[in-house]
């Protein structure tokens, strides 16, 4: 991790100093090593190791930040142009926003492609450096396994050495992986202008140790009543904080239906049992076929609700009905759900045929 962080900082500095990029989206940290925050760096001198971090807690998907960052930069240029015009100067003399460098892990590049496909970002404004990833750790799991009073976490290959005020602990990284990393789709970047990976894995290796669809299969094997009870238990704990939506790279609507009083479904708190489920059902349908299974929704949920099970059920069904499809695999894909095919499309009656499954 140390080595790769050094390489990342070096490249980012070079590109900033050469004026090839104007800003860098990466990660920074605070007091405990694991409290990693996405950050925008605009000066080479800010990119010191220690301030810029890439460690086992960089789970957050930076592709979503591109939307707001690019929008802000374009707005700033437009404002400057308007000001120039008002002063009688030539607006075309105002320089454009320049490029933004973003570091993306393999899973984040799926989201990036999906955003390109949906015209949410303009790739001519972005420089993507794909960074190697060997799985990100889940601090909640580490805490559940008994670490409290954490003062420092040291990345030591396959182990995480956790220093705490109550004594030190060591964890096998594979035992404390984020859910999304335990089910990783692979370590290959699906989009990148360049890749930083000092020790590339042999081709085909790098999938997570767990079966991505195991949880869905478990749900499918339940009776409808059991399944209902399962979701009732889970979703009744939802505090409607919208972190899952706000972190999701597929949720990019300028005005989400849940914030729009005219939509009839907006709400800030779950008033009834029905409302506890409504938000999740609607959101799952809105991202169906577009969700890349990046895992952010489950990662950010403060209540630990397994939201990935909803999305993966859609993915599994789409794969079964229309053939294997992975959203974000490449730019410009025609997703099965928006591709009319009179010969092969399933009819709504499939729901009955499959016994409500």
């Amino acid at each position: 991790m140390q080595e790769i962080t050094g390489l990342m900082v070096k490249r980012a500095k070079e590109l900033l100093e050469a004026g090839e990029v104007q800003r860098v989206i990466g990660w920074t940290t605070g007091d405990f090593c694991y409290d990693v925050t996405p950050a925008v760096f605009t000066k080479a001198e800010d990119l010191e190791e220690g301030k810029f971090v890439y460690n086992s807690f960089c789970g957050s998907n930076l592709s979503k930040y591109l939307i707001q960052t690019l929008r802000n930069d374009i707005n700033a240029v437009n404002t400057a142009k308007a000001m120039a015009a008002r002063k009688g100067e030539n607006p075309d003399d105002i320089p454009g926003p320049g490029k933004t460098l973003v570091f993306l892990k393999p899973c984040d590049t799926y989201s990036f492609n999906q955003l390109l496909t949906e015209h949410r970002i303009d790739k001519s404004l972005v420089y993507v450096i794909g960074v190697a990833c060997r799985g990100m750790a889940d601090i909640e799991k580490i805490k559940l396994m008994g670490a409290s009073g954490i003062t420092k976490v040291i990345d030591a290959g396959d182990k995480l050495e956790v220093k705490t005020i109550y004594g030190d602990k060591s964890f096998d990284k594979k035992d404390v992986l984020l859910e999304k990393c335990a089910c990783c789709k692979g370590k290959e970047h699906k989009y990148a202008d360049e890749v930083i990976d000092p020790e590339p894995l042999p081709e085909g290796e790098g999938k997570g140790p767990m079966d991505r669809m195991a949880g869905v299969t478990m749900l499918e094997e339940m009776t409808a009543e059991e399944r209902y009870a399962f979701w009732n238990d889970q979703l009744s704990r939802c505090i409607k904080c919208y972190a899952c939506r706000n972190a999701c790279p597929a949720c990019t609507c300028m005005k989400c239906v849940f914030d729009n009083p005219r939509s009839g479904v907006d709400s800030k708190a779950n008033v009834t049992e029905f409302e506890e489920k409504m938000y999740h059902i609607i959101r799952a349908f809105h991202v169906a076929g577009r969700c890349t299974d990046c895992g952010e929704c489950s990662r950010v949920c403060p209540q630990g609700i397994p939201l990935h099970l909803l999305n993966r059920k859609f993915i599994k069904d789409i794969n079964e009905f229309y053939g294997d499809y992975q959203a974000g695999e490449a730019e410009g894909q025609r997703a099965p759900l928006v591709n009319f095919d009179a010969e092969n499309d399933v009819e709504p009656s499939i729901v009955n045929e499959k016994g409500g499954n």
């Binding site: 805490k143 904080c241 779950n270 008033v271 950010v300």
Partner: protein, 344 residues
């Protein structure tokens, strides 16, 4: 001081629950929550903080406050009955106890919030001393003594016993009611409790946030801090979700909405979050157009505006819930530190 064997706690809970609703931290579906005690629930004595704070016992996330309907030409208001008064909340940590007083200053000031008052008025708060804090705890920064928290009654666990010390008249009356379940603590026990406090304080001194101070914050800092360019950087990562506000024991903002049920209008209030785009939306739009202004609002409220209106009391209690739960780890500690509050 009174004393009870930990193995006899459920007997005490059963006795209390017979008279009054009793809420305490229990493990429930993989997390610790404040739950109404029923037979079979076990007090999660080792848990520090529940995900959601106990504030919704007095200020629920959602409540119906009034109903209206039309009968012919008449418009009828059906007031909602005030909630039943008086519950017992057991196992409250020092930070959460102080949060009740933060909320009292808001909801019990004129004009009194009658719903909050009805729930809060006759309630008994039994606190639990902390001996094994986590890295995100910084209650001491806000003048709380976690090893001897306030409340009506304070409890300590020493080995297999729990000790109860009375702090208020309400607490005295409460303990008297269940006197036959307790035994009187001996002189020895007092020393043992003191020793637990002493050891805990040594741990508190080692916490990574032990040096955090509120220096530089307070009611008179609006002009100095409001336009500081740091807010822009600090808020860059903020997702604008409501996690920090909804897990926070002192966040107090709510929205009021009317729902047409078809035969009446139900007026409800629910927690709102200053991190949301549509917070305090008015006819002209919003006064906080970007996440920077929303983010600044949350922290300025805790550290500047609230103290300005409440004799210098801060409305953060250092529970660290927002530190634990922010999905992108941008929190009040980072704000305090960015403005230089990291050395005592």
């Amino acid at each position: 001081m009174k004393k009870i064997a930990l193995s006899k706690l459920n007997e005490l809970f059963a006795a209390i629950a017979k008279d009054t609703e009793l809420h305490l931290p229990v493990n429930f579906k993989g997390e610790t929550v404040f739950k109404k005690w029923t037979e079979g629930d076990n007090y999660a004595k080792d848990s520090l903080k529940t995900v959601k704070s106990p504030k919704d016992l007095f200020f629920p996330q959602n409540e119906n406050i009034s109903n209206f309907r039309k009968e012919g030409n008449k418009f009828i208001i059906d007031p909602v009955e005030l909630p039943k008064s008086g519950i017992v909340v057991f196992g409250v940590r020092g930070c959460d106890e102080q949060s009740f007083r933060v909320l009292d200053n808001v909801f019990l000031a004129e004009p009194v919030d009658t719903f909050y008052e009805a729930r809060r008025k006759n309630s008994v708060i039994i606190t639990a001393a902390c001996t094994k804090p986590s890295e995100s705890c910084f209650c001491k920064t806000f003048g709380i003594d976690p090893t001897d928290p306030a409340g009506d009654v304070t409890t300590w666990i020493v080995d297999d016993n729990m000790f109860f010390a009375v702090k208020t008249e309400k607490g005295e009356a409460f303990l008297a009611k269940y006197a036959d379940i307790f035994t009187e603590a001996e002189e020895d026990d007092t020393y043992r409790v003191e020793n637990v406090k002493y050891l805990a304080n040594q741990i508190f001194a080692k916490l990574p946030l032990a040096d955090l101070t509120t220096e530089g914050w307070g009611g008179d800092k609006t002009d100095e801090k409001f336009d500081d360019p740091k807010w822009q950087d600090l808020s860059t990562a903020c997702l604008g979700c409501g996690t920090c506000t909804f897990v926070c024991p002192t966040c107090q903002c709510y929205d009021i909405r009317d729902y047409n049920t078809g035969n009446q209008i139900q007026r409800s209030r629910c927690w709102d979050s200053c991190m949301y785009k549509d917070f305090t939306m008015c006819a002209h739009g919003t006064a906080r157009p970007t996440q920077k202004e929303r983010y600044r609002q949350r922290f300025m409220h805790k550290l500047v505006y609230y103290p300005a209106n409440n004799d210098g009391m801060f409305s953060c209690v250092g529970c660290g819930r927002c530190v634990d739960k922010c999905p992108v780890q941008t929190n009040i500690v980072k704000v305090i530190k960015a403005f230089g509050g990291d050395k005592k």
